[in-house]
Assembly symmetry: C2
Homo-oligomer: 237 residues x 2
């Protein structure tokens, strides 16, 4: 149970463990964690032992890994850092949304709390980042909009795009080339047969377009649909 400041590796582990459960509920396993961090499974086993010693995760050998309250607190602070930095890079330094992820990944471990809070103030304490991901507040509260993957919606559903997964920068470039962005108004028109593309209308009036979206694309788009699940849930750590 050391109390020293977390290393950047530890910050990364905790952040990835948290992020895994942000849009679904199953806890992460060693192998999944190793894949997302780009390290060997054995490195994860070692590190998870260390995280457990420090009281950041709960873990029984051979089972999944969950964060403790302290772990969630640390994770939320890292997620806050990451998303504020992304927002700052886009709004203040002219980065494109497909460029910000890697830069934020480096900066989030380096800057001070002071830096983060001055940045947040300058940005007007934004509540979501350029991809629509919610930015936790300094006190650890987060508004997680009730959103669904577009790929899981049935024909007839309408709503707004509230989040676009930033995992794949190439996909982000594709989307901006197609002028698909946050807050676009959408309607699911149907689905091509044999696990094929999702047919959707995006925009309306002058900006109305129809697309056949491949499954990979549709599952990166999250839709806030009044019909399905109105309102927001408020997570507190």
């Amino acid at each position: 149970m050391k109390t020293s400041l977390p290393s950047s590796s530890i910050e990364d582990y905790v952040k990835v463990i948290y992020s895994f459960t942000e849009w679904q509920d199953k806890p992460i396993t060693s192998t999944q964690l190793a894949q997302r961090l780009g390290v060997a499974n054995s490195s994860v086993s070692e590190m998870v032992r260390k995280l457990k010693d420090q009281g950041l995760v709960d873990h029984q050998p051979y089972s999944a890994i969950t964060l403790t309250a302290d772990g969630v607190r640390l994770a939320l602070s890292m997620v806050r850092r990451h998303r504020l930095i992304e927002t700052f890079l886009v709004r203040e330094l002219g980065y494109r949304w497909d460029e910000v992820h890697d830069e934020a990944e480096l900066l989030e471990h380096a800057v001070s709390e002071t830096f983060i809070e001055r940045m947040a103030a300058k940005l007007g304490n934004p509540v979501r980042d350029p991809h629509g991901d919610p930015i936790p507040a300094a006190d650890g509260t987060v508004r997680v909009p009730a959103a669904h993957r577009m790929s899981e919606l049935d024909a007839g559903h309408t709503g707004l795009i509230t989040r676009i997964s930033d995992e794949n920068p190439e996909l982000l470039r594709y989307l901006s080339a197609q002028r698909i962005g946050l807050d676009a108004d959408i309607e699911v028109l149907g689905r091509k047969p044999f696990g094929g593309a999702l047919v959707v209308r995006i925009g309306s009036g002058g900006t109305r377009q129809e697309f056949d979206l491949a499954a990979e694309v549709a599952s990166a788009l999250w839709v806030h649909s009044e019909k399905v699940h109105p309102g927001c849930s408020l997570k507190r750590p």
Copy 2:
């Protein structure tokens, strides 16, 4: 002669070696380097061997340490980073000039070249930082103003404060409380006996003030004096 990217430790060593010769000419010794980096002498010996292997320094055992052309290039790029970041923190995030040093120290190792250049562009490619230190250009050229420590000037000298050493944040706070800042017009009036304070006029007209400056204070202030050494020298690596 490895070619891998320099670690942040290596960046720090090179930057400190460079900085030591920025305002005087004697090269740095192992012990001085160790003191400035806050590490043991033995750590410096090891690291200097590594720097030599990588072609960043010239060094004969038991003698002083100097940078190679490659070393100077790397050092200038770190100094550029540091001073641009300091300028950015003051101009864009409302930091005070006594707060920026430590933050810049962390950030300079983390940000990408892209970040640096976008920041520089946003700031209008400044040529000096909040303490008056010259910011090397992206191509490695630096304008080093011909300045002298105020503590070394004789009575009667006049000039402008062009640089204020940022080594001691407390001193910076003292100076701003006294409203002594960059570009103030000064005149050395005299010197109190027995190695005492330097008597100077700072400002003129409505802002005119007289001070007895302790030696430590006067040696942190650098004066560009037309009488002593007009013009600038242009260093190229």
